[in-house]
Symmetry: C2
Subunit: 271 residues, 2 copies
């Protein structure tokens, strides 16, 4: 047992899809979350800027005494993971390896699609991780730059004509490739699960990167004997680089509960 908190961060709100799964799987763990809402989105920025921002995000989280860090952001996981690992002595988990493992396990024919931000797809990180496990995999990858703005604007529901049109445009080539498994390579995308699932059809397994990252951190802590007792009531604290009120209002949608008394603002550029 190790009661130090787990640090989790994302460019904005998307990482809360991982936090939600962590709360479900790891109810006894304390969590410190940072969402860089003052600089979201990361996905269209240069690799150099993404690395610089990610270092500041981690420096802030490490002002707490953590037992592990979860990068709940596809863009940072695909662009800055190795740098962050080399600079931190505690475990740093990204979303790529757990999602790649889940995709390979789920895929019947090895025909796997990957969607993500521009930076994520440019990195080729998901494809490399999948091929390391399944060299004969047939892969198709597609950058979907408008999906994060749509999610951040709350346009996630079935029947939203714009969202459905955008999803159809991005996924038509992925669908035509006949994939049996699709990696939602950005932690914002599970919010679009209904629209994406409707378009791809029930035969295509969707891999939720936040959920797989939560499973991976649970397995790691268990293996290291650092898991808290499930009867312990874990505490969660949230930090954002833009307005705490705005963060709390949107977080309710992601987490399914009110956290307004547990959100604070942080001046991330000072880290």
């Amino acid at each position: 047992m190790d009661t130090r908190p787990i640090g989790v961060f994302d460019s904005g709100m998307g990482g809360l899809t991982a936090v939600r799964q962590m709360i479900r799987l790891l109810p006894g763990e304390d969590i410190v979350y940072f969402g860089d809402t003052g600089r979201v989105p990361y996905g269209g920025r240069s690799a150099e800027t993404i690395v610089r921002y990610a270092r500041q995000d981690v420096a802030f989280l490490r002002s707490f005494d953590l037992k592990a860090i979860v990068i709940a952001c596809g863009t940072v996981s695909t662009t800055a993971l190795s740098v962050l690992r080399s600079e931190n002595s505690i475990p740093v988990l990204g979303v790529v390896e757990p999602a790649a493992k889940a995709a390979v396990a789920a895929s019947r024919g090895g025909n796997i699609g990957v969607i993500g931000t521009k930076a994520t797809i440019r990195s080729g990180a998901y494809e490399a991780a999948i091929r390391a496990l399944l060299p004969e995999a047939k892969l198709v990858a597609k950058a979907c730059p408008l999906l994060v703005p749509l999610v951040e604007d709350g346009r996630v529901r079935r029947g939203d004509a714009v969202t459905e049109r955008v999803v159809e445009e991005y996924l038509s080539s992925v669908k035509a490739a006949g994939v049996d498994t699709l990696v939602l390579g950005c932690t914002h995308y599970p919010l679009l699960r209904d629209v994406i699932g409707d378009y791809m059809g029930a035969d295509v397994t969707l891999i939720d990167t936040g959920e797989e990252a939560a499973r991976a951190v649970a397995a790691l802590l268990e293996a290291q004997g650092q898991l808290n007792d499930v009867s312990r009531k874990g505490e969660r604290h949230y930090y954002a680089s833009d307005s705490a009120e705005d963060f709390a209002a949107t977080a309710a949608l992601f987490l399914g509960k009110d956290i307004s008394d547990r959100v604070e603002r942080v001046a991330i550029e000072n880290y």
Copy 2:
């Protein structure tokens, strides 16, 4: 004559629509442009964060000895203009007053629409400026949060099904209100002039805020005897907070020419 440069800034690339007009109207002027591409977009952020970022943008520009500052950003002009004016002894021009003046002059029936980012529409600044000139104006305002992501993604052309669908959705209520004049209250929007113009119809006058701001700075400099001779060849220098290469590549679309040898990166969080 005053050969000090004019400082111009925007959250990202949009302000280049104003720069293009300034180059046309004021060929003898030196211009220093800053685009905060590392933190774009501003339009969905809190007023407090917008003011903080805008102060840093101005602090960087004032590391040059300027004769005037142009806020080539609808969001900053509507949210932070009075703060910036109170803190700077040189003239600070926003896009709101020039656009309001142009809209009132262009409108036949005083039935005027305003579109902009969430922060811009929340501020009510365009409506207030128009009413100050035309108290009986009939106004309709609409926030269009997806238009900046669409422009930054380069999806500006006629025939882009997603852009046309988004424009139709945002503008249907504005069109139904029977406006004769529409203020494009964000310097990104002139890139969408074709799509917006097609939807609104030829009878609706579109007001380009960047163009009006360029006219206003020309008038101000002339009135103060600070205008450079038109035979002088003005120099332009560009700065961005993300990759200089990425800025130069996109800037070519906005300016219609290659500026790759005149772009530098700046660490804006240090200002």
